[in-house]
């Protein structure tokens, strides 16, 4: 332990020791409670606590908080520490604020004022503390408050280096949290860029991160940084290490700064200016050369630091993708790493090579390492390394090596880790289709795939097998033959039954002349699996049987018996029952010609992007979306939404009577949209065409959620949003359900809520973070609380962004949270009601509206709406029993607002008169406006 100086807090050390010595959780809790009581008393009783004691107690509170206990006092004392002029006290104050206080604290203004004082102080240590605090917890308010102070510190000539470093990253934080609120004067641009040239390497290191973020926002404005970054980089990599003593790390000059500079340059295309470009190439060349030099130290730190720079240089080389000599050299370097004894290096080499394989300059060079990569697949102990090997094999695959690679992947699949099997199946399926010279080979592979890893074969995969068979009549009889053979295996995966069922239903006739696979044998074989299958598969098989009725009239009676069987005809599964009944009828009443038309062979599918690629992209959104040169099927031109998959059984038929299955995917929301019955309909594709463009929609809230505590508040073609609310006094717990209505995963999903204007001081919203991906047809939940601080009139704003099929979508929406959500009903008798009614007679307390009825004037409907609105509906108060009276209380954190109402229907005139009185000005008017068009 370091020597205790003046700042050492003995009491704190004793307390920590005590806690550590506690034998049980209970003992610890007792000790903590004792301490909390003690601190609470000190804070309450003793107004004359000195700074040291305050610091000590606040620090203890912090320690207790970090142990996982809630701290609900001491905030004021912590904020007081900020104005101390002793460093140690200030530091603890800032630390407490950074760690414990969330952004919505009421002492925000006070904190901001203290930070401002410190920012303007002459003491650089205080300035730094304030900056570090903003860098830790900075939000929109702070971005606005310090929009001038902080940039000034950054670019001013007489700021200390350490302060500049903090100021740069502080700005970065504010830029990230609220890019709109932070206005950076364009006159500062040049000076910010010039920080790259700062004498102090620490300032440059911090500044690159800021500049990188600003470049991403306005690349043209910051273009000047290219030149400076290249020259700074050049000065570092070509120097001898002695030049940067403080910044040399294990003989590598300024490795982190180099990495950051190399990343900065990846925001731009290769430099246009030939002199800058050749200087950059020289840097990259030098970095590659250095990798070949003998190590200057045996320590892993040395090689790691050197290779950190090397890998980033290779990333830049791949990004520029124009210097073939550099690309090939990079590839050779990585090839050496594949054999290195460090697992880290092998892993990273595989990862980088994946990118190299997509460049036409280095694709061939990567292929030389095929054998090593296959070995990695077999021998690596770390699954993540094997995963990278699979990725690389996929990336390096082309027509010349496809057969080998697919075979190796299939072999590995049998023993592969469960976590990566599904992805491997997809990759094998894609490669074997894309590079198939002979589609019989493709089918062999696919059936083998289903046999080895049936559980991991997603719908898209077996749909695709069927699409390929339907579209290629040269393989149809072969497909029927091997599907039939596959079915004969004693244990047969359900996905195999589906594929074989579909194929035999279409092409069973092509093998029916073979005595080993006569119609009856085919049928018996299929039907022997029927009872082992799930209802969806049974539905598919029923369609197959129906197709058999047409293909093989001689076994029609057998099939009719099956359809008539109780387990189908009276199945508890609606879909099975419906199919059994309808197919039976169809087979009975239709003559062969009609049957032949209805049950005609499926027409070819339109060729579009393979749904498998879409699926693969969804699996790894963050990596794949950046990988531009992804292998794609030749026919692909746009990433159009495809509805290629045969939709289970109904699409196998040209029948129009099968309804879409309704899947109930959550308690609130049913997510399915009607699906097309034919496998491809123009109308469907057109309606989705609009969605392939990025869209931004702004939607006005209609008064959803006004009368109910759960409702669907938003819906379009892609998503549906449901809400549930539960009120506890002034705090509303809400749950939002986001349902994905599409067949694609929605990725990078994020939601933001904004309280603008007055709302900021009227509501407090705390929403939990949310998952960033919504799987196809699934739903995710976001919970949160909204506290009502005082009565409010505007609606919170919400915006939702996500990617649908790689296309950004944005929805701006007014969140339908009206004041009445905080209304709780109140019961009272007639005397009480009128007493209160009369007490509220000032002009602003009352609002009266007379309006025509919009809906049939039904007593129960009105009553239901009024109660749904939140207040009571009291009977026996008004002399006229047709009238409605009631009361409620609005709970806000600061006060309770009483509300009374009277609604008088006039059936002759088809009008209502609504009178509302409330103890707070404006509330009555607001409620009257909300209700006047609702009856």
């Amino acid at each position: 332990m370091p020597t205790m100086r003046g700042d050492a807090m003995r009491g704190l050390a004793v307390f920590i020791s005590d806690i550590r010595n506690c034998k049980s959780r209970e003992a610890e809790l007792r000790r903590i409670n004792k301490e909390l009581t003690n601190i609470r008393q000190r804070f309450r009783a003793d107004k004359t606590l000195d700074g040291y004691q305050k610091k000590k107690y606040v620090c203890k509170l912090l320690f207790i908080f970090l142990l996982g206990h809630d701290i609900d006092f001491g905030y004021m004392e912590a904020v007081n520490l900020l104005s101390s002029n002793k460093y140690t006290e200030k530091q603890i104050g800032y630390l407490f604020i950074s760690v414990i206080m969330n952004s919505s604290t009421e002492m925000k203004q006070l904190i901001i004022q203290n930070i401002r004082n410190d920012l303007q102080s002459r003491n650089p240590i205080f300035i730094n503390l304030a900056l570090q605090c903003v860098a830790n917890i900075g939000d929109r308010e702070m971005a606005i408050a310090f929009t001038n102070d902080i940039p000034r510190l950054l670019i001013s000539g007489d700021t200390l280096d350490a302060v500049k470093q903090s100021a740069a990253l502080c700005l970065l934080r504010l830029h990230r949290t609220s890019p709109d609120s932070l206005q950076l004067n364009t006159e500062w641009t040049a000076r910010i860029i010039h920080l790259l040239n700062d004498q102090h390497l620490g300032v440059a290191t911090a500044a690159v991160s800021l500049i990188d973020a600003l470049v991403k926002r306005s690349p043209d404005e910051y273009k000047g940084c290219i030149n400076l970054a290249v020259s700074r980089l050049s000065r570092i990599v070509t120097s001898s290490y002695t030049d940067f003593q403080d910044y040399t790390y294990y003989f590598v000059p300024a490795p982190w700064l180099c990495v950051k500079l190399l990343r900065l340059l990846q925001n731009y295309p290769p430099p246009d200016d030939p002199s800058i470009r050749s200087r950059l190439n020289e840097c990259l060349d030098t970095i590659l050369n250095k990798a070949q030099e003998p190590l200057k130290s045996k320590k892993v730190q040395h090689s790691n630091a050197r290779n950190a720079v090397l890998f980033e240089a290779i990333n830049l080389i791949i990004h520029m993708d124009c210097e073939s000599s550099l690309l090939v050299r990079a590839c050779n370097q990585l090839g050496q790493f594949l054999q290195n004894r460090e697992t880290n290096l092998r892993y990273l080499a595989l990862e980088s090579m994946c990118l190299l394989a997509t460049s036409e300059f280095s694709h061939e060079a990567v292929k030389k390492h095929q054998e090593t990569v296959i070995n990695a697949l077999k021998s690596e102990r770390d699954v993540s390394v094997r995963q990278r090997a699979v990725d690389l094999l996929y990336a390096m695959c082309d027509r010349s090596n496809a057969q080998d690679i697919v075979q190796e992947m299939l072999t590995y699949l049998e023993t592969a880790d469960y976590t990566i099997r599904e992805e491997m199946v997809l990759k094998i399926a894609i490669l074997s289709e894309k590079y198939a010279i002979d589609y019989k080979w493709y089918l062999d592979i696919m059936l083998k795939l289903i046999r080895i890893a049936g559980d991991f074969v997603s719908e898209e995969v077996w749909y695709r097998v069927i699409q390929v068979v339907v579209n290629r009549n040269d393989v149809q009889s072969y497909a029927a033959k091997i599907a039939f053979e596959a079915l004969q295996a004693p244990a047969c995966h359900e996905n195999m039954v589906k594929v074989a069922g579909y194929i035999l239903g279409e092409y069973g006739n092509l093998i029916a002349l073979d005595p080993r696979s006569t119609p009856m044998i085919q049928f018996d074989l299929l039907h022997s699996k029927y009872h082992l299958c799930s209802p969806t598969t049974r539905c598919l098989l029923l369609s197959t049987y129906m197709k058999f009725v047409n293909l093989f009239p001689e076994i029609k009676h057998h099939i009719q018996d099956i359809l008539r069987h109780d387990s189908n005809y009276r199945s508890s599964d609606v879909e099975i029952q419906q199919r059994a009944i309808e197919y039976l009828k169809l087979s009975e009443i239709c003559n062969p010609t009609v049957l032949a038309t209805v049950l005609e062979i499926m027409p070819p599918y339109p060729e579009k992007q393979s749904p498998l690629l879409v699926r693969l992209k969804q699996k790894k959104p963050l990596i794949e979306s950046e990988n531009v040169n992804e292998p794609s099927s030749p026919s692909t031109t746009t990433a159009a939404h495809t509805e290629d998959g045969p939709k289970l059984a109904e699409t196998a038929m040209h029948l129009n009577h099968h309804q879409q299955q309704q899947q109930q995917n959550g308690l609130l929301v049913s997510l399915d949209i009607p699906e097309s019955n034919g496998h491809y309909e123009e109308s469907t594709s057109n309606s989705f065409a609009s969605l392939t463009k990025s869209s931004t929609s702004t939607v006005q809230s209609n008064k959803k959620f006004l009368f109910k505590n759960s409702d669907i508040i938003f819906e379009n073609e892609l998503i549906q949003i449901g809400i549930k609310g539960e009120l506890m006094k002034s705090s509303m717990h809400i749950e939002l359900y986001y349902g994905n209505k599409t067949n694609f995963n929605l990725i990078n999903f994020s939601t933001n809520f904004f309280l603008s204007g007055d709302l900021e001081s009227e509501l407090r919203m705390n929403m939990e973070p949310i998952k960033t991906t919504i799987d196809s047809r699934a739903q995710i939940k976001q919970s949160g609380t909204i506290d009502c601080l005082k009565d409010f009139y505007d609606l919170p704003k919400m915006n939702i962004t996500f990617y649908y099929n790689n296309i950004p979508q944005k929805i701006d929406y007014s969140f339908p949270l009206y004041l009445n959500k905080y209304l709780e009903k109140a019961d009272m008798d007639s005397n009480n009601f009128f007493l209160r009614w009369r007490n509220l007679e000032k002009p602003n307390q009352e609002c009266q509206k007379i309006f025509p009825a919009k809906f049939p004037m039904i007593y129960d409907d009105c009553r239901q709406k009024l109660e749904g609105f939140g207040w009571s509906s009291l009977t026996g108060i008004d002399v006229n029993s047709e009238n409605f009276c009631g009361a409620g209380i609005i709970h806000t954190v600061s006060q309770q607002i009483g509300c009374l109402y009277r609604l008088e229907p006039n059936k002759q005139a088809n009008m209502y008169r609504l009178t509302i009185r409330a103890s707070k000005d404006g509330v009555a008017k607001r409620f009257a406006e909300l209700l006047e068009d609702q009856f």
């Binding site: 912090l62 620490g202 403080d246």
Partner: protein, 142 residues
């Protein structure tokens, strides 16, 4: 960008948790547990990198302590691996042969060290000499 830094011991006790993103308290607890479960099962033959949700964890074990940095998937693994080591060397120097207890008793100082070296989720200062000089100045202050 660094999303968070965690120092945990083998038993899962957190010795430092520094968050650069706004997480809810429950979520933080969950992340801490998940990271612990993820790194403690790995051995020396494994890489120092693990995929984690939409991010990745770069970690290194020192005696009984795991130093974990959660970064974006396209961040430079080795640079962050060495950033951990650089940080550990500074702690070691500052606390004169750092041990787990130093981090417990001086937790508030550890935060100062972090703020000197990492800020707003980025690497702020990499020179050990500069960092230690600044820390010495701060320790001498009242």
């Amino acid at each position: 960008m660094i999303r968070f830094i965690l120092i945990q011991n083998r038993a899962g006790k957190t010795r430092l948790a520094k968050w650069f993103m706004n997480f809810h308290d429950d979520e933080k607890q969950k992340l801490i547990e998940e990271v612990h479960a993820l790194v403690t099962v790995r051995d020396a033959k494994h890489t120092n990198f693990v995929e984690f949700r939409n991010f990745k964890i770069v970690y290194r074990r020192y005696a009984g302590l795991y130093f974990c940095i959660c970064v974006d998937v396209n961040d430079n693994n080795l640079a962050y691996l060495e950033a951990i080591h650089n940080f550990v060397e500074v702690l070691n120097e500052f606390f004169h042969n750092v041990c787990e207890l130093d981090l417990v008793f001086n937790f508030y100082k550890v935060y100062s060290v972090v703020d000197e070296m990492f800020l707003a989720g980025e690497i702020r200062e990499t020179s050990q000499i500069k960092v230690l000089k600044q820390l010495t100045t701060l320790t001498s202050l009242e």
